[in-house]
């Protein structure tokens, strides 16, 4: 008879109680399971082709362009509208009404009629309507200083200064990328069975990937217009070092709370990938070499990461020290055997900040695409099965789950003002999610259910005097106000990473932690908080442009190499 040893060498995925804290989620980094990298790997593997059938932009920078991506079975077209935006209208807020450029990702190849229809709607963004043929709607604003510098330099026949490029990192930043049925666009269910959209947010990532090509072409076009066709051509290496920025506010924060199963699947995929790598008995020379190379390049990326935000500055300093310390430690290690990655990861837990620990968690996956990349196909969610409440569950069992999964919330004194100082609500203007002060603004009556910890604690209190054998169905008939929380508790029972195990309404909650976590899964880098509830990031810096995907590295581009341009 064979005995399966379940000793200390059996490494499990990390405990949700450790992972699902806001400070740690707010220190997540991109990984090879990030949605941008999943997309570029797929497009390279499947040899997607790209063309620019239309580029009708005038000297003032207004007009439209079409970029088409052809995959094995279907094509998708980014339709870009360029505008001449007065400075006083340039706002990254969702309440803006005009932008430097607006976009939609069209399902297929648009006809002239489609483009005319979309020209009447896409520039209006929220005030317009789209149809089931459109997969996304988005907009972008220029980085005014870098845009002007690049246009002026090229028009004068020279290349832009590298310090200026590095200081900003992008020519335009998107201020919203809407998908999944917003403004009348196609629902995700319409396209979810296409293999290219098996991983979440591939529509949005494809839209941004093509947007970056448009922005590069537009800046070149504007330089030519200014110089009467005599402008210098932007150095491809400089162009490649630039990504697309993104400016994101509170609107994104509730997403993780409103999609608990989806969020669980993201975290679970990354944690399972990490556990698989930590279980490896030994590492080959080439695997170790790749890890060391990417660690060195991560340090370069950290140098290019700027933020003036106080909390992020502190984290960034610690992170750079982490990478130095990690590099030095790796140099002393024999990584050939004895579960090398697990030893390294355990060392990091004791010696690095959360930024460093989570960066290492991502880096460890890099040499092991064959071992972990399949997990990207399990990051989407069909909520149907988990949405229904299991009404036959006895209340005793419900209490047990709360005690196990919400212990952190039961330990909080929710009557203290500082523990419930904030309230999430939706404002009348533009229906923008906001976070307000419960005790100073008249918002409590409008509170959204975005404090699962408090709500689970209240539910637990309500359950106290009910018999353990009574069914959830009977309880909910008398207490419909707990229906939302009962569902969450039952979801967490099946999806342990579904819940942020932290207080989302305390006086010191930092919504940027939630934004950072989501954006890291997208594949964003260089998180630059502008306040505790607003963050700028960079997407696709150093990535190949569409026409370069076949010849350049479509996977590890996120780690910068030594710059060869500008010399």
């Amino acid at each position: 008879m064979t005995t399966i040893v379940q000793g200390p060498q059996m490494i499990e995925a990390r405990d949700p109680a450790l992972v699902m804290r806001l400070a740690r989620l707010g220190s997540f980094h991109q990984s090879r399971l990030s949605f941008m990298r999943v997309l570029t790997r797929r497009m390279a593997r499947e040899a997607w082709s790209f063309e620019r059938p239309e580029f009708e932009i005038d000297a003032a920078g207004t007009g439209h362009a079409v970029y088409t991506a052809r995959g094995p079975e279907r094509s998708y077209s980014l339709i870009a509208f360029a505008h001449d935006l007065p400075a006083d209208q340039r706002s990254d807020r969702v309440i803006a009404e005009a932008w430097d450029a607006t976009f939609t990702l069209f399902d297929g190849i648009p006809s002239a009629g489609d483009i005319a229809r979309l020209r009447a709607n896409i520039p209006l963004q929220e005030a317009g309507r789209v149809s089931g043929s459109e997969l996304s709607v988005s907009r972008a604003n220029r980085s005014v200083r870098l845009w002007e510098h690049v246009v002026a330099s090229l028009a004068a026949g020279s290349q832009p200064a590298l310090e200026q490029i590095d200081a900003v990192g992008y020519l335009m930043r998107t201020t919203a990328v809407y998908g999944s049925g917003k403004l009348g666009a196609a629902d995700r269910e319409m396209i979810a069975d296409r293999p290219e959209f098996a991983t979440p947010f591939q529509v949005e990532m494809l839209s941004v990937f093509l947007t970056r090509a448009f922005v590069r072409d537009l800046v070149q076009h504007m330089a030519h217009m200014r110089a009467g066709g005599q402008a210098a051509t932007l150095d491809p290496d400089i162009a490649r070092s630039m990504g697309i920025g993104n400016s994101t506010g509170l609107g994104m924060a509730p997403f993780l709370l409103n999609h608990p199963v989806l969020f669980n699947n993201w975290i679970k995929a990354r944690e399972e990938a990490l556990a698989r790598v930590r279980r490896l008995d030994h590492a080959s020379e080439s695997e170790v070499a790749l890890f060391r190379d990417l660690l060195r390049r991560s340090a370069q990326s950290a140098v290019n990461w700027h933020s003036d935000h106080e909390a992020q500055t502190v984290k960034l300093t610690a992170f750079r020290e982490d990478l130095t310390r990690l590099g030095a430690h790796v140099d002393t290690l024999d990584l050939s055997g004895d579960q090398p990655w697990n030893r390294l990861f355990n060392w990091a837990g004791a010696h690095l900040s959360l930024e460093g620990q989570e960066c290492l968690a991502s880096l460890l996956l890099e040499p092991y695409g064959a071992l972990v990349d399949d997990l990207a196909d399990h990051m989407a969610a069909d909520n149907t099965a988990t949405f229904r409440i299991a009404g036959a569950m006895p209340l005793g069992r419900l209490k047990e789950i709360i005690e196990q999964s919400y212990a952190w919330a039961l330990d909080i004194d929710w009557s203290l003002p500082r523990n419930c100082a904030r309230a999430w609500y939706v404002s009348e203007e533009k229906l923008e999610p906001r976070l307000g002060d419960r005790f100073e603004e008249p918002i409590a009556d409008y509170e959204q259910p975005l404090a699962p910890g408090r709500d689970a604690a209240v539910l637990y209190q309500s359950l106290a005097h009910w018999p353990d054998i009574t069914s959830v169905a009977e309880f909910l008939l008398r207490h419909p106000e707990h229906r939302h929380s009962v569902r969450r508790v039952q979801i967490v029972n099946r999806a342990p990473y579904a819940e942020i195990r932290d207080n989302t309404i305390s006086s010191d909650v930092l919504p940027i932690d939630m934004l950072r976590c989501k954006l890291a899964f997208f594949g964003a880098v260089h998180f630059d908080p502008r306040s505790d509830r607003w963050v700028r990031i960079c997407m696709y810096p150093n990535a190949p442009y569409p026409e370069e995907l076949a010849t350049l590295d479509a996977d590890f581009w996120v780690y910068p190499t030594e710059r060869t341009c500008g010399s």
């Binding site: 005014v144 049925g181 949405f387 009404g391 009348e428 923008e432 009556d445 169905a473 909910l476 419909p480």
Partner: protein, 215 residues
């Protein structure tokens, strides 16, 4: 106007909240309305009718008094969302060949999406009947029998839910729906109640953006 199902779900969730339902029931009302819309039924209209009918009335009056024997509401009319949710929660009863009988149900079609949930839980098709109407679903498809007017009835004297049952002429969902402007406005009146009036302070602080984006 052509709407995405997500738009319908989002609007109906807000409207149901504005109509006084608990968040958990709002989520189910919204998913149910979306489900009906995907089969070409005017789920949003029925929800608007229901919210207007029960507006400002205490929920206890339209909630089943008990889950034993025939379900009835103390005030005489059961809310199909509350009763439907309780039916889905009690799905195991149908597994034991019990028929769930409800007396007096408003907008009975709004109960049917909950039968879809129950069917998925039971792994067996569930039928919902009233008058000459019989709607059967296995959670993925829907078989409808009866006149459309009766299916869209404003009230059912008696409604029965049971399983297992046969799927006869199943229809698959479509991914687009059309909602009349007037209906959208009626739902909007309820949704509006969930939005906090903007103040100068909330404008300035609430979203937390930087002051200058011309950089």
């Amino acid at each position: 106007m052509s709407h995405s199902l997500n738009e319908i779900e989002a609007m109906c969730k807000r409207a149901a909240r504005g109509g006084g339902l608990s968040w958990g029931l709002c989520e189910e009302a919204a998913k149910g309305t979306r489900w009906l819309a995907a089969y070409g039924y005017p789920g949003p209209e029925l929800l608007a009718d229901l919210l207007e009918l029960n507006d400002q009335k205490p929920r206890a009056g339209v909630t089943p008094a008990t889950l034993e024997n025939t379900w009835y509401a103390p005030a005489g009319r059961l809310c199909p969302i509350t009763a439907g949710a309780a039916m889905s929660d009690s799905a195991v009863k149908m597994e034991n060949d019990e028929t769930i009988v409800m007396r007096g149900v408003s907008q009975p079609l709004l109960v049917v999406p909950f039968a879809a949930g129950a069917a998925l839980r039971l792994g067996a098709a569930v039928s919902v009947t009233w008058g000459d109407v019989r709607l059967t679903t296995d959670g993925h498809r829907l078989c409808a029998r009866g006149r459309r007017d009766d299916i869209l009835a404003a009230h059912a004297v008696e409604l029965r839910c049971f399983a297992p049952t046969e799927m006869t002429t199943p229809a698959a969902p479509v991914m687009r729906a059309s909602v009349a402007e007037a209906c959208w406005r009626r739902l909007g009146v309820f949704a509006q109640r969930t939005y906090a009036p903007a103040t100068d302070a909330s404008r300035r602080l609430g979203a937390g953006a930087g002051l200058n984006d011309n950089d």
